[in-house]
């Protein structure tokens, strides 16, 4: 009896803490969304108030959709994020498979080398990257961004995925070899489906920093045709005057695609994070 009551209290306490955290985490998002639907005067008069019939104004969204080519910015962000994600997952999983599956000289050294990038921020190499991009004529292309983000995402992907791939049954891979499957078929058809939760985890951790990044778009691809959504929103932030309606509306819209991607991966993600713990 006492244990049951105790666990109820504990559950309430745990939920209390989690709800509090959720509120804190969601508060900025809430403020952005709420204020994006208000007139400029109302934003400054009472930033926390909900829009009323009087203060409701879509001026922000109108500005965003009329000024600048936001559809293009969205498309750019989407292409860069999805493209980078694809290459990070593909090459990361391939490298992880090789590291976990094959015995070769320098295996663990190679694993360490590939994981080194987790500790060294890629931005330290910005100048060299810019020089390389200029030399190869890739400045102001989405390719430049995809290449950089792929490099940025690979270390963590290789690190997480190689741990997961070690847990895939050797017998299964060997059965495939005896049945005449090629190493590629074994990788794509047998191993990848089994590490899907880990892939989703890597996808989410890789995707969000790419979508939110301002640094590399600003340096490598600032032209009008290649602007990403975060860079595009900067148009409205001036040194002296900032169009808050437009900034908030742009940010509000920018949340949507990443939210959709997250929802796609999240079911797998929870399994990926808890896989080691529950088993």
């Amino acid at each position: 009896m006492s244990t049951a009551r105790q666990s109820t209290t504990r559950t309430i306490a745990a939920h209390g803490v989690l709800i509090l955290y959720t509120l804190i985490a969601l508060f900025p998002v809430f403020v952005i969304v709420v204020n994006s639907f208000k007139s400029r005067r109302a934003i400054f008069a009472d930033p926390l108030a909900l829009p009323t019939a009087e203060t409701f104004d879509l001026i922000g969204y109108r500005t965003v959709l009329q000024q600048g080519d936001f559809l293009l910015y969205f498309q750019n962000s989407m292409m860069v994020t999805v493209g980078s994600l694809f290459f990070v997952l593909l090459f990361g999983a391939m490298a992880a498979f090789a590291l976990s599956e094959y015995r070769f000289r320098g295996n663990s050294l190679m694993g360490l080398y590939l994981a080194l990038g987790i500790m060294i921020p890629i931005r330290l190499g910005t100048v060299a990257i810019l020089q390389m991009m200029v030399a190869s004529g890739l400045v102001n292309t989405l390719t430049a961004l995809i290449l950089v983000y792929t490099a940025q995402g690979l270390p963590l992907a290789v690190f997480i995925l190689s741990e997961f791939m070690r847990s895939v049954s050797d017998d299964l891979k060997n059965a495939g070899r005896i049945d005449g499957l090629s190493e590629y078929t074994i990788f794509f058809r047998l191993v990848l489906p089994l590490v899907r939760p880990a892939m989703a985890t890597v996808a989410v951790f890789t995707m969000i920093p790419i979508w939110n990044d301002l640094w590399f778009p600003l340096i490598l691809a600032p032209s009008e045709e290649t602007k990403t959504i975060t860079l595009g929103s900067q148009v409205f932030i001036g040194q002296f005057v900032t169009n808050w309606n437009a900034v908030l509306a742009a940010l509000g819209l920018a949340i949507v695609p990443v939210l959709v991607l997250y929802l796609i991966f999240s079911r797998q993600l929870i399994r990926g994070i808890t896989a080691g713990a529950v088993k």
């Binding site: 017998d171 005896i178 049945d179």
Partner: protein
């Protein structure tokens, strides 16, 4: 078709030698069991025959043809794994047919082969299910079926019964024995369980630390072991080893099976106290702690009672004793 020959085969991982020169002949149609304690290299040896591990030196031949450098898929072998290793994304039928499909066999022929294997193993109603919808015993039958469909020269079994519960293990063991009789195929079977080895094998290969200790028919190993290791490994409960000097014998060690030790309250050269009693109905096992020879096991048929801690005396049946020298080699 299906004779296997190993010629001085070795395997080293870096500087550690795991298989230290194994020579072996398995005749066509023979059921050969590799047995030994864990870490003796029996699974490694099997994986080398399958082509899943490189051979460091020596030759592996099937039907007189050297296959050292052939890919696993081209050795015309089939393997059944301890963890079943069924493809999770394929149905039972596709699991069974995959190898033939990879070889480019016509579809009708694959279906026919799969149905035939399914009939042999009673898998008919399960053909369209996925592995996750099957029980452990069913999965292992599918894995065996997958091996049959290929009509390989050589069947390789890697501890196939270890993940099954006791009752299922006996049933599947009988099924494998029946399959061997029906198919007449050569089978190599790895196990650490000497009961499986004794009941299934035409030929047992006892391995220890990467070396072959003895090869022979089950009853030959049981009745005529070459050394203390084989004598102790084959037979359950384990053979008793007594110090020969204390019994007035010239050899170093005397091996007596538990059923060849007579137990009585008053008579016998060895004195000891009962430390534990196991009554199994059909037989009674008495564990006797002796000051000179350590713990000895006595096996009597029927029900018997020896109170724990009571003093008993044991008489070895000298005519059934095995004599070994100081290195554990048999003195004949």
């Amino acid at each position: 078709m299906g004779a296997l020959t190993l010629k001085n085969v070795t395997k080293a991982f870096g500087r550690t030698e795991v298989i230290k020169g194994v020579d072996l002949d398995v005749q066509d149609g023979e059921f050969c069991v590799f047995v030994g304690p864990s870490g003796c290299g029996k699974s490694t040896l099997l994986r080398m025959i399958a082509g899943l591990e490189d051979v460091t030196s020596g030759d592996v031949e099937i039907d007189g043809e050297r296959i050292n450098d052939l890919a696993p898929a081209r050795r015309e072998i089939a393997m059944v794994f301890q963890s079943y290793a069924l493809y999770p994304h394929l149905t039972v039928r596709d699991n069974m047919g995959l190898a033939l499909k990879q070889l480019g066999t016509p579809k009708a022929q694959i279906v026919e082969a799969a149905d035939k294997a399914a009939a042999m193993l009673d898998l008919g109603p399960l053909m369209e299910r996925r592995p996750s919808e099957l029980s452990g015993g069913q999965r292992q039958r599918v894995a065996i079926g997958r091996a049959i469909v290929r009509t390989p020269k050589l069947f390789l079994f890697d501890e196939p019964l270890s993940n099954l519960d006791a009752a299922l293990r006996v049933a599947t063991r009988i099924e494998i024995a029946r399959l061997h009789r029906d198919l007449g195929a050569t089978m190599i079977y790895v196990t650490h369980d000497q009961v499986e080895a004794m009941t299934l094998a035409d030929k047992i290969v006892v391995l220890r630390a990467g070396r072959v200790e003895q090869v022979g028919r089950p009853m030959d190993l049981y009745n005529d072991p070459d050394n203390t290791f084989v004598a102790g490994f084959i037979g359950s409960p384990q053979m008793n080893f007594l110090k020969a000097g204390l019994l007035g014998l010239s050899s170093d060690t005397v091996g007596i099976r538990p059923e060849h030790l007579a137990i009585s309250a008053t008579e016998g050269p060895i004195e000891g106290s009962v430390s534990h009693l196991e009554k199994l109905g059909g037989e009674t096992l008495t564990y006797v702690r002796t000051p000179d020879h350590g713990l000895l096991t006595v096996r009597q048929f029927g029900e018997h009672d020896h109170p724990v801690d009571s003093t008993v005396r044991l008489t070895p049946d000298q005519s059934r004793a095995f004599h070994f020298d100081a290195d554990g080699q048999r003195l004949r």
